[in-house]
């Protein structure tokens, strides 16, 4: 098994060198940084699916939450917002939200005063409606005011360090994962998948349309880097090319340090009693319950842990590209891609997930130039035969990566259902 892993990682290294040689260092260096962030996300999913057997199809939502969090923490302060009435109006909206939540809570406890059965249900629905109307009546004018010129356009950031933003992304993702897990984890696998997709779509719709908080489709840029930017190196007297590479190398170093730290932590957790308990729950939760394990609480725990990594990974991606564009998030690129990474790499094995993430990210990014080259070749060939060239090669090759991704996952499911570096099942005694 070790030998197989080493061979595969060696092959991956050769592939990276090959990509670097063909596509150039600027391309490869930024892809490697992204691959490190995706590896973190894939490890998060590996915790949820590989360790815990939880079916999270809402990865996109957690990535967006992480991205929004790092934007909020690290973007420079917007003085126009803080000078206007925006903060006060938002405070009122928050108060309305709290009052609404209290009304709903009170309605849910109404059986204490003797309201039960259908009446309680009706009262709860009414309380939700009243709370919703109350909140809307405060948030709508606040949002309209902040989005106007007087309110500063949007809330802006806090001007903190990006690494703080990454941490906040993790914390925010954890909070949302806690709520989602509380709601959904009792569901069976396919229902859980559909429910999490639904929730991630709700998160996407909210982030995309809450212009006052995230600027929505107007996008936020440039988001600061945690490490020196190429411009800083250039100011120090470097030429453009080596400044770019040094800056990327700095970012890559930071990303790899985070990744190594996470890898070390979760490998320790996996090998320890906690990991054994999680695998026991995944393999047979009824047996685990009878051994006195609190399955629901443990699954919630693992769902939150995995989502923290997804939030941090999403924040790292946004910091790196320096732009937060909610409309660029797609289920294919940000949910299904991660799933393919974990399944092809090997669910339940951290090295497998890491391998799958880097390999799939490389396949994903090079399938476009590769298919363009193939199309160009076929096109010149068909032109020589007098059949004419292939129209719109650029647009077509951009779409090929979706097909390649589908092909990879179907082949993997058929011929290597446990992944390239499968989980090692230890048998003792």
């Amino acid at each position: 098994m070790i030998q197989r892993s080493l061979t595969l990682f060696g092959g991956l290294f050769v592939l990276i060198l090959l990509v670097g040689w063909v596509m150039g260092l600027p391309f490869t260096s930024s892809r490697l940084v992204e691959a490190a962030a995706y590896a973190l996300i894939a490890l998060g999913l590996n915790i949820q699916w590989g360790y815990g057997g939880l079916f999270n199809f809402g990865i996109m939502g957690f990535l967006m939450v992480g991205g929004a969090a790092v934007t909020f923490i690290s973007f420079p302060v917007n003085p126009a917002f803080w000078a206007g009435e925006g903060p006060a109006m938002l405070g009122k909206a928050l108060l309305a939200f709290a009052v609404g939540a209290l009304i709903v809570l009170a309605a849910r406890k109404s059986d204490r005063i003797g309201i039960t059965g259908k009446w309680k249900t009706a009262l709860t629905v009414l309380a939700w409606f009243v709370g919703y109307c109350l909140y809307r009546s405060q948030i709508d004018p606040a949002a309209a005011y902040i989005e106007s010129a007087a309110g500063g356009g949007w809330v802006g950031g806090l001007g903190g360090h990006p690494v703080l933003g990454w941490l906040f992304g993790g914390v925010l993702a954890a909070g949302i994962a806690y709520i989602v897990g509380k709601i959904c984890l009792g569901l069976r696998t396919d229902y859980l998948a559909i429910a999490t997709i639904g929730i991630s779509e709700i998160i996407r719709a909210l982030i995309k349309n809450m212009d006052w908080l995230t600027r929505g489709t107007l996008t936020v840029s440039p988001i600061p880097w945690p490490t020196p930017l190429p411009q800083d190196f250039q100011a120090g007297g470097m030429d453009g090319y080596s400044a770019l590479l040094s800056a990327r190398a700095g970012y890559l170093l930071l990303a790899v340090i985070v990744l190594a730290l996470v890898m070390w932590l979760i490998s320790r957790a996996y090998a320890g009693p906690w990991g054994r308990m999680m695998r026991a729950i995944r393999d047979n939760h009824i047996a685990a319950t009878s051994m006195g394990k609190n399955v629901t609480a443990r699954q919630l725990e693992i769902f939150v842990f995995g989502s923290v990594l997804m939030g941090i990974g999403g924040a790292m991606l946004v910091s790196f590209v320096q732009i937060f564009d909610p409309s660029s998030y797609q289920p294919i690129n940000h949910t299904f891609l991660i799933w393919v990474m974990v399944i092809v790499g090997g669910a339940g094995n951290n090295w497998g997930a890491l391998f799958g993430a880097i390999l799939l990210w490389l396949i994903w990014v090079i399938s476009e130039p590769l298919s363009k080259a193939v199309f160009d070749f076929v096109s010149t060939w068909s032109t020589q035969f007098g059949w004419g060239a292939i129209p719109e090669i650029e647009a077509r090759s951009a779409q090929m990566r979706v097909f390649v991704l589908g092909l990879v996952i179907t082949i993997a499911l058929r011929f290597a259902p446990r992944g390239l570096i499968p989980e090692v099942v230890k048998r003792e005694g």
Partner: protein, 334 residues
């Protein structure tokens, strides 16, 4: 009465059309879930693929100079449905049957269906690009405007020809499905297998045949839904991919595995979406005359802003899963 006609135009017709499309898609999903026990995500691609097959056929008809009294999209629909059913059978044979034979878990089949989604979507985009197409490039889209002055409305009742045909076709096919499921031997076998697959097999039901018939029905109805959606709006590669979740919501709300539940769920979600974004001020405006000044209605009084239209379906989905996971018609439990 103007307000009533406005309400009918904005909510009743739009909700009915959307509900019909959701219902047709949800029937396929719910049947596949009932028989094969997995959530079939690639259903969206059966719908989009079916719509593109119909589009190609309609273009071919136009190129051959065949002129039809009703929109060509509806004329070619039966042929497209047959082709889509063959496509569905092929997908099953190529991708799901080998996994089933290996005894893979439903989760693996679900992931395989996502792989199929990606492959078909990639192929459609490869051949048709990312642009949008219309069935009505060579023929006009007829719009009927019924004058409602007789009942005192200043607005006409507006409905397009495809919308009328769509509602009719859905009604007929749902009726046909009902008779198939309740009267024919095969339909009864299907319901038996959905109820208890092992019991159905030991009582001599040809399960392989039932699986094939399920794919044929799912493919044909998916093609119908996709084509009608494309006839109502425009045809684009992510046509059905964007609405697959509302369709799943419809199937779950109705109770997974329950064909009638899927119809009810589809209509429910369709109407809920249109009602949620409906601007009530347009209907309640006459009240402004009797209401005191401080209670005048705001210019927009919708339950949720328009940009959250699709979110309504997800909220209903999540609430259903929490409150009544078996759906309205008591489907498979979660």
């Amino acid at each position: 009465m103007t307000e009533l006609i406005f309400f009918i135009n904005q909510v009743v017709i739009a909700g009915l059309v959307l509900g019909c499309i959701y219902a047709l898609g949800a029937i396929g999903i719910t049947l596949i879930f009932g028989i094969l026990r997995f959530a079939h995500f690639a259903h969206s691609e059966l719908m989009t693929g079916g719509a593109f097959i119909a589009f190609l056929l309609a273009s071919a008809f136009a190129a051959w100079g065949i002129v039809t009294p009703i929109p060509t999209g509806f004329v070619v629909l039966p042929i497209a449905m047959v082709l889509a059913a063959i496509l569905a059978l092929g997908i099953d044979k190529g991708f799901y049957a080998p996994l089933r034979k290996r005894g893979a878990k439903p989760v693996t089949l679900l992931i395989a269906s996502i792989g199929v989604t990606l492959m078909i979507q990639g192929l459609i985009r490869l051949f048709f690009g990312a642009g949008s197409y219309s069935f009505f490039e060579n023929e006009p889209k007829e719009v009927f405007r019924f004058d409602m002055a007789a009942i005192g409305s200043t607005r006409p009742l507006v409905i397009t020809e495809p919308q009328i045909l769509m509602i009719l076709v859905t009604f007929v096919s749902v009726l046909a499905l009902h008779f198939f499921l309740t009267r024919s031997r095969l339909g009864k076998a299907m319901r038996a297998m959905a109820d208890n697959a092992d019991l159905a097999q030991v009582s001599g039901i040809n399960t392989a045949l039932v699986v094939r018939v399920t794919w044929i029905i799912a493919g044909a109805l998916g093609c119908m839904a996709g084509t009608m959606l494309a006839l109502d709006v425009t045809l684009k590669p992510d046509l059905a991919f964007n609405i697959i979740l509302p369709i799943f919501a419809a199937a779950i709300v109705g109770g997974l595995g329950q064909a009638y539940g899927a119809i009810a769920g589809g209509l429910l979600i369709g109407f809920a979406e249109t009602l949620a974004v409906f601007n009530w001020t347009m209907v309640l405006r006459p009240l402004n005359a009797i209401l005191p000044d401080w209670m005048q209605l705001p210019p927009t009084l919708a339950l949720v802003p328009t940009e959250y239209k699709l979110t309504v379906a997800f909220v209903i989905l999540v609430v259903t899963l929490l409150v009544r996971p078996t759906g309205i018609f008591k489907g498979a439990s979660s």
